[in-house]
């Protein structure tokens, strides 16, 4: 490839990162806006402010790689190439949802894009990811699984059991901690001793890396290394990405009036918006223009308009099917 072609390719990749983050941002904001209509009747945990962790890390994966997530899974599903219609229909409780409306926002399963599952019990999904990755090896596949978890989830014993099991069995998994330093309204210092979260990897002689979770390219780079290690049989890695949740823990609103976190902290993180800072960088680098941004937005708005309309038009699941598929 010529140097120019290489540069163009690199630009395209960067634009994709931007587009993917902006897609998450706009969709989550639209969900927030429409939530008060009381038609999405399930708890929602939005990932506004945390777009770079999902997008940067998923960019390091192949389509046939898998991810597994938590209550805060919209961003991961979208970053992994998720189907917006299927996600929104699920949140709206409709039959065309990725779980047929049975799961809601906290259960997003879509094998076609490698979204293995999301599970609302904190850390409960972590060993599932280790097992999923065990299966790759069993079937001779060179796939990798990323397990996303919050800083709160690292306090559950099963996370440690999973780290140990993954380390002993050298399973191709990446533990990706999205550290927004809160579990609901409780800050890290009330829940854990002060030390870098990466120190948890030392307990299992596991390689680890810290990364600015609002820098999508840094996230991608660090994840790519971990994924390469896993894919080549080098076993698990722990990544800790610091980032910030902008809105309330559960629900569409802001909750800074509650006083559980300092406004200066909120403002500082908002000033480091992962989408805007990366957008500005792309503009500065001459990769993106204001017109280009508008075009991307328009594209996303169109997809969203169609997807929301699709979700709302999708029928509710037939109550007669409520007892189906209990046993396989």
């Amino acid at each position: 490839m010529t140097e120019a072609a290489l540069a163009a390719q690199k630009d395209a990749v960067r634009l994709d990162l931007y587009r993917s983050m902006q897609r998450i941002r706009l969709v989550e904001e639209e969900i927030a806006k429409r939530y008060s209509e009381q038609e999405m009747r399930c708890p929602v945990h939005l990932s506004i402010g945390q777009e770079a962790t999902a997008v940067g890390s998923c960019a390091a994966l192949r389509n046939d790689d898998q991810i597994i997530s938590s209550h805060r899974g919209h961003g991961h599903y979208m970053a992994k190439g998720g189907n917006l219609k299927a996600m929104l229909a699920e949140i709206y409780g409709r039959v065309d949802g990725c779980c047929g409306g049975r799961g809601g926002s906290m259960h997003l399963f879509d094998d076609s894009v490698g979204m293995l599952a999301s599970v609302p019990i904190v850390a409960s999904f972590v060993p599932l990811g280790v097992g999923a990755a065990l299966a790759y090896r069993h079937f001779g596949q060179d796939r990798v699984c990323i397990v996303y978890l919050g800083d709160g989830a690292t306090e559950e014993g099963v996370f440690h059991e999973s780290m140990n099991l993954a380390a002993v069995h050298k399973v191709p998994v990446v533990f990706f901690i999205e550290n927004n330093s809160y579990s609901c309204y409780i800050g890290l210092a009330d829940r854990q001793p002060v030390r870098p979260l990466t120190d948890m990897a030392k307990a299992y002689a596991m390689p680890s890396a810290s990364v600015d979770g609002n820098d999508v390219e840094a996230v991608q780079a660090v994840t790519a290394q971990a994924v390469a290690r896993a894919r080549s049989g080098g076993g698990p890695t722990l990544i800790v990405a610091d980032t910030y949740r902008w809105r309330e823990h559960c629900g569409p609103n802001y909750d800074n009036d509650l006083g559980y976190r300092p406004m200066a902290e909120v403002d500082a993180w908002r000033a480091r918006c992962p989408v805007d800072t990366f957008g500005a960088k792309l503009v500065a680098d001459g990769v993106l223009t204001e017109a280009g941004k508008a075009a991307i937005n328009a594209e996303i708005e169109a997809e969203m308009a169609e997807a929301f309309a699709f979700a709302k038009a999708s029928p509710f699941p037939d109550p007669k099917t409520v007892a189906d598929r209990v046993y396989a």
Binding site: P43, G103, M106, Y260, P317
Partner: protein, 360 residues
């Protein structure tokens, strides 16, 4: 007569906790979010301000660990109250509860006590879905050494919680999320109620019905509908699932010859099964109709409200079963069912009542 005070069950729970903490410095409370701005649906409001972080202990997300911690603290004289925002989180703690808490007194031949209270909240509505909505009282009620309490009113929530906290045995205290909103007359001060089993809510000779927790509220509506038709149902709110005292129920069924149980949890291997079995062991040969049970069906809770509506039994279903047991003719059965069903259709299925705003 002095005007009686009306408060919600959530307020009653908070009040009981506050009273118990004020009365005994050994009482502490441990949980995730107990001191956050939401204060567990208001049930721990102001406790941190009043008693400080040494007694209102915000916990890491480590349910099994802090349950064991509570048991160890209880062995050394503390009286910890644990709170979990959903029953499901306590599944992580089953080993501690079943092997350590339940058996500590027995195995130590009486030397140790493990006086902990484990408050569990049953989620329902607003698309809670399969892992935030289970009741699961059977899992605890099956274990000798645990006590299991399920209040259905603000009055009982306060009185039974006070007794649970002062009880020297481990008590699992199950609160239905929709029960928190229920208001009622609740006496001020130390109004403990003994953990002694079923409360008779109505008297009657036609049918005996035994319900627990939130389903007691649905059952009250059904019993009223039958009363309006001149059918007197004897209604027991079970309240204490373990140790199980069926004596008043047996006495009643000996008169009525008819029994319906209404569970908040799954029907199969549910509380109703044990009640039916115990009552049949003593009343079988004098029954006028076969006993019946209502409870959650044989599958997980779906999130979508169209499916959830098909999942939860409600007062029309209970009224219909009662009417059938009472031997009413088909026309009257249908009339009763439809009247209640219409009333119900007018309200959304996935919220408890209009004052319920939030998605949680």
């Amino acid at each position: 007569m002095p005007e009686q005070r009306v408060i919600s069950a959530a307020q009653a729970i908070r009040e009981a906790t506050d009273l118990a903490m004020a009365a005994d410095p050994a009482v502490i409370i441990m949980g995730e979010g107990i001191a956050d701005p939401k204060t567990i649906f208001g049930t721990t409001d102001q406790l941190m301000e009043k008693y400080g972080p040494a007694r209102v202990m915000e916990m890491s997300i480590a349910e099994n660990g802090f349950t064991g911690m509570a048991i160890g603290a209880a062995m050394n004289g503390l009286r910890p109250i644990i709170v979990h925002q959903r029953v499901e989180f306590a599944l992580l703690t089953m080993e501690q509860l079943v092997n350590n808490a339940a058996k500590m007194h027995y195995v130590s031949n009486g030397a140790h006590k493990a006086p902990i209270v484990v408050r569990l909240i049953v989620g329902r509505g607003w698309g809670q879905g399969p892992a935030h909505s289970q009741s699961l009282e059977t899992l605890f009620a099956h274990i000798p050494g645990l006590k299991v309490v399920m209040p259905a009113s603000a009055h009982d929530a306060k009185g039974l919680l006070l007794s649970a906290i002062t009880d020297d045995s481990p008590v699992v205290f199950i609160e239905h999320r929709w029960m928190h909103y229920v208001k009622g007359h609740v006496p001020e001060g130390w109004a403990a109620l003994p953990l002694d089993g079923p409360a008779r809510l109505t008297q009657g000779d036609a049918v005996t019905v035994v319900s627990n927790s939130y389903m007691t509220l649905e059952t009250i509506r059904a019993v009223e509908a039958l009363a309006a038709e001149g059918v007197a149902v004897e209604h027991f709110d079970l309240r204490v699932v373990r140790p199980l005292n069926v004596d008043p129920i047996v006495e009643s069924v000996k008169r009525t010859g008819r029994l319906l149980t209404v569970d908040t949890g799954f029907a199969t291997y549910g509380v109703g099964a044990e009640i039916v079995a115990r009552v049949m062991e003593r009343c079988c040969l004098t029954m006028k109709a076969a006993p019946r049970r209502i409870g959650l069906p044989e599958h997980p809770t779906p999130s979508s409200r169209s499916l959830a509506a098909a999942f939860y039994p409600r007062s029309p279903d209970i009224a219909q079963a009662l009417a059938e047991l009472a031997g009413l003719d088909q026309a009257r059965i249908t009339a009763i069912h439809n009247r209640l069903a219409e009333e119900r259709e007018a309200l959304p299925f996935d919220v408890p009542h209009p004052s319920f705003q939030g998605p949680f």
